[in-house]
């Protein structure tokens, strides 16, 4: 019986490196991870916060039309599912006590938002949180925080 694909939660920098920093030393490993997701070998999740962060970083380079295209098309482009906090009523809200709980773990506000949404998922299904700044999340998430390179190495091994 074939093993079901593992699910990983992707941080913002994975998309940013692929789109903007193509000379980054991590680019090849990063692209390999994204190809694994695109081909269905690995299932990718990310959050609406991460999508908005990618848009924020690239907003300095894109016009209004392209920015909207980036927002609308990122999930399809990378074959990832985007998760949201709470119910959808055209606003994105978070629970203050939950975010404060993350901040108490020594996290910046942005990291706390992402950590909170990871925690809200069925973490039993998520193999790892993948970020090139995994060190900022080490020991602070209910799932393992790995760099894409570490994850790929484990996949290979």
């Amino acid at each position: 019986m074939t093993k079901p694909p593992e699910t990983v939660f992707l941080d913002t920098d994975v998309f940013v490196i692929d789109l903007r920093y193509t000379t980054d030393t991590h680019f090849q490993d990063n692209r390999r991870l994204l190809e694994e997701i695109r081909s269905g070998k690995v299932t990718g999740l990310t959050s609406i916060y991460n999508v908005l962060e990618v848009c924020g970083i690239l907003s300095f380079n894109l016009g209004a039309e392209e920015l909207l295209d980036l927002y609308a098309g990122l999930a399809d482009r990378y074959s990832v599912r985007v998760v949201f906090p709470g119910s959808w009523d055209e606003s994105i809200s978070f629970s203050l006590p939950d975010i404060f709980k993350q901040i108490r773990k020594k996290m910046s506000f942005g990291d706390a938002l992402v950590a909170d949404i990871v925690e809200r998922q069925d973490t039993g299904r998520i193999r790892a949180f993948l970020s090139w700044s995994a060190k900022h999340f080490a020991g602070k998430l209910p799932v393992e925080a790995l760099t894409p390179k570490e994850f790929l190495r484990r996949q290979d091994g």
């Binding site: 913002t12 920098d13 940013v16 490196i17 789109l19 903007r20 920093y21 980054d24 991590h26 609406i48 999508v51 962060e53 924020g56 970083i57 690239l58 300095f60 380079n61 894109l62 016009g63 209004a64 039309e65 392209e66 909207l68 295209d69 980036l70 927002y71 609308a72 098309g73 999930a75 399809d76 482009r77 599912r81 985007v82 949201f84 959808w88 055209e90 910046s108 506000f109 942005g110 990291d111 090139w132 700044s133 900022h136």
Partner: protein, 135 residues
Amino acid sequence: MVLCPDKTERLPFALVLHYSRLWIRNTIRNRMKAQRKKTVSLSARLPIDLVERADRLAREKGIPRSELIEKGLALLVERDLMSEEERLRLATQAMREGRPAPMQSNWSRIEERIRETKARFKTADEAMAQIRKRK
């Protein structure tokens, strides 16, 4: 045999049937013609490589080039007419429901713009540090 209107001569039933069928067929055809979209012919000068790419795409999709151009133009006009807020709402809804985005993103344009412009942050690390306010 069927009586003619003046009731003086009779026409064979098969002939009446034949003309009736013709009348029904022509009426349907004319109605369909009227319902069909009115079209105009346009001529435009387009870059050869764009036309070649369009032809390739049309072949892949198994549709005529004119239909591809019509669909592309309709998409462009539709996008332009829809407000940014509406597009944002529809895209978010699709994302939330795990459906493909309702509008096709122009990725070649996004990539071109990224290539053409200078990065706001020197490295991805710097971008992340700034956006997450880590430093």
